[in-house]
Symmetry: C2
Subunit: 381 residues, 2 copies
């Protein structure tokens, strides 16, 4: 790269700081940042070795470019691959990855680099958090969902037979690189699913960003500067909440807007990605959270209508009826909700909204109220 | 207990604070504190449920008393038992314990109570650190070794085929209860092995405490107020180092005095407790660290002699020749040392001493120098 081109790349890179004291880090966002990242990583950990954790699909797609740039920056690498898909967030894969990192002689000053989507990030972040009681890790998310959600904030973990993400750690990354050009290789379905989490930040507390999404979503998908802006806005919003409440003792729960519904739907469709992927479940959950708020007399019907209409324009589902194969009865959906990690002593906690950009935490919502709402939804009311 | 007796118990309880900011906690030391602890736990986590993790031996010995006191204090309990011994610090036992805690419906505001020695504390502390991304845990150490070393400072973990304690977390307890009366049930061998770690604190940076140990060790074993004083002094010393360097980036390495030798000896005796237990390996390691310091011209021979003489008086081993079945050659011992977690980029780091109470971190000690020293030790020089 010429100096001029390098300068241009630098200008186009957006830096979002996550000021978490001794755990502070930066999120770098822009097109073609993968190779740029190598230099930043080398500065972060001079002389370190890096274990790149990725999945079988991405290993061929992006890993060689990253490795070549890291080698040029003087960082020796080892590559560890996992099978793609949620099933890799298991105890067995965790043990295998830990032993793989030990066999690769990753020491306390070395790095684990997660190159992949949420599964790769969650699993390898957790392994990094416990390897020799904690080594640094770098997130290079390759899906939109991971860029705007799971790679930022330090939540890592695996699933148990008792539920999702029940075993894990809060382990902040040392650096997050969001190369938005990597998203060009995503399927339309996968990109749109990630987009649901982008819209979520507008709905939580940024009505102006929701307006912007309504006007610019096509350009976000197309991959122009609007995509970088959307990713940066999402990361900035998430970072602000994480800084206020790193360990989810309070405000961070706002990020669960739409998620109590979404997790229940994912459970009822047996985490079968042919029927429903996480972002699609979130899209339905967002629409439901606003309609539920409307039904409770908290939110204007106009706002709930705008939310559903925007998701529909984008091509995302927004109703229980949109789930292929159906969801089960209202009672089954409520039962699936009460298995959620966010349940405290049996009470249901929801994120509700007084309108677009005005969401809030509502603990102790009666299960009966939820069931009646879902019944009316299923009846198509 | 009458009010008078309760007051007396309170007076005899020694409180050692561990001021680690938002992770601060107290160590409570004294005879018959097990039941007293229940009230403190109830204050710490009102309304919480507690999972008591213990081993098959201790389950009958101490668990019923603890459970009965916790129930009186309004804390519901579940008991989970593991098999005694180092083999329980495995991935398999970790997975089983995590799933056991989930099955017991331990939530984020609940507690894990480790009632046992180092194995119980290390395993259950690690499980607590990752359960729902971290729940609080309380250490109730039942061995002298655990009371003065492993229960304080937040190091938790399990072993991998690649080495000991390679997978784990820094997860500080919320409370440590050292009931020194529990130590009455230890075998003489186990008590003395723990005593090696007590003496260590005098050798690190407290010459006056080493003098006190020489004068009072019989009363420490007998179980009078001297035992409480010894445990409290050790805990206070460990807490001070942990507060200076929680994650072992510097000073905390001083706690490894004698341990580079000790870990090698444990490895070479295949962690066979019939041949050598950890504290006995540490006793030999302490004597070797001082004789090695003497050989390097760093430490007066008189001090090295006093260390070995004290260990011998107590009935602890202090020479390589004291290991039943032998240790292997000098080359094998050095090889076993280089497999240690404390090796940074191949250089051997030792804790050496300028004299009793004057230890320091010596990075980059040449392996050849170590080998020649061990050869002379094996030759009985």
């Amino acid at each position: 790269m010429t100096k001029q081109a390098a300068d241009a790349a630098r200008v186009e890179r957006i830096l979002v700081p996550v000021p978490l004291g001794e755990r502070a880090y930066d999120i770098l966002i822009g097109r073609h940042q993968l190779c740029e990242a190598a230099g930043v990583i080398a500065e972060l950990a001079p002389g370190a070795r890096a274990a790149i954790v990725t999945d079988d699909n991405l290993a061929e797609l992006h890993a060689p470019a990253l490795e070549s740039c890291l080698h040029q920056a003087g960082i020796a690498t080892t590559r560890l691959t996992i099978r793609p898909g949620e099933a890799s967030k298991s105890y067995a894969c965790f043990v295998e990855l830990c032993d793989g990192l030990l066999a690769a002689k990753i020491e306390r000053n070395d790095l684990v680099i997660a190159l992949g989507g949420g599964v790769v990030g969650d699993l390898s972040g957790f392994a990094a958090s416990v390897l020799r009681r904690g080594v640094r890790f770098v997130q290079i998310p390759t899906s939109l969902l991971a860029q705007v959600d799971s790679s930022v904030g330090g939540k890592t973990g695996i699933n148990s037979g008792h539920g999702k993400n029940l075993i894990g750690a809060f382990h902040q990354p040392a650096l997050v690189i969001c190369d938005t050009a990597l998203l060009d290789t995503l399927s339309e379905r996968e990109f749109k699913a990630g987009y649901a989490e982008v819209v979520k930040y507008g709905l939580i507390d940024d009505a102006a960003f929701f307006d912007w999404c309504e006007a610019n979503w096509r350009r976000v998908i197309a991959g122009g500067p609007e995509r970088d802006h959307a990713v940066a806005t999402a990361c900035r919003a998430k970072a602000a909440i994480v800084v206020r409440d790193e360990r989810e003792d309070g405000d961070r729960a706002l990020l669960n807007l739409g998620h109590t519904f979404a997790h229940a739907l994912e459970r009822l469709t047996a985490y079968n990605s042919r029927r429903l992927v996480h972002g699609e479940a979130v899209a339905i959950g967002l629409a439901l959270a606003f309609r539920f708020s409307q039904r409770l007399g908290l939110c204007p019907g106009q706002d709930a209508g705008r939310v559903a209409a925007h998701l529909t324009s984008v091509g995302l589902p927004s109703r229980l009826q949109d789930v292929p194969g159906g969801t089960g009865s209202a009672a089954e959906i409520v039962e699936a909700m009460t298995q959620d990690k966010k349940v405290k002593r049996g009470a249901l906690t929801f994120i509700l909204a007084h309108g677009i950009g005005k969401s809030f935490i509502a603990p102790g919502v009666p299960a009966d109220e939820v069931r009646r709402f879902i019944e009316s939804e299923l009846a198509g009311a």
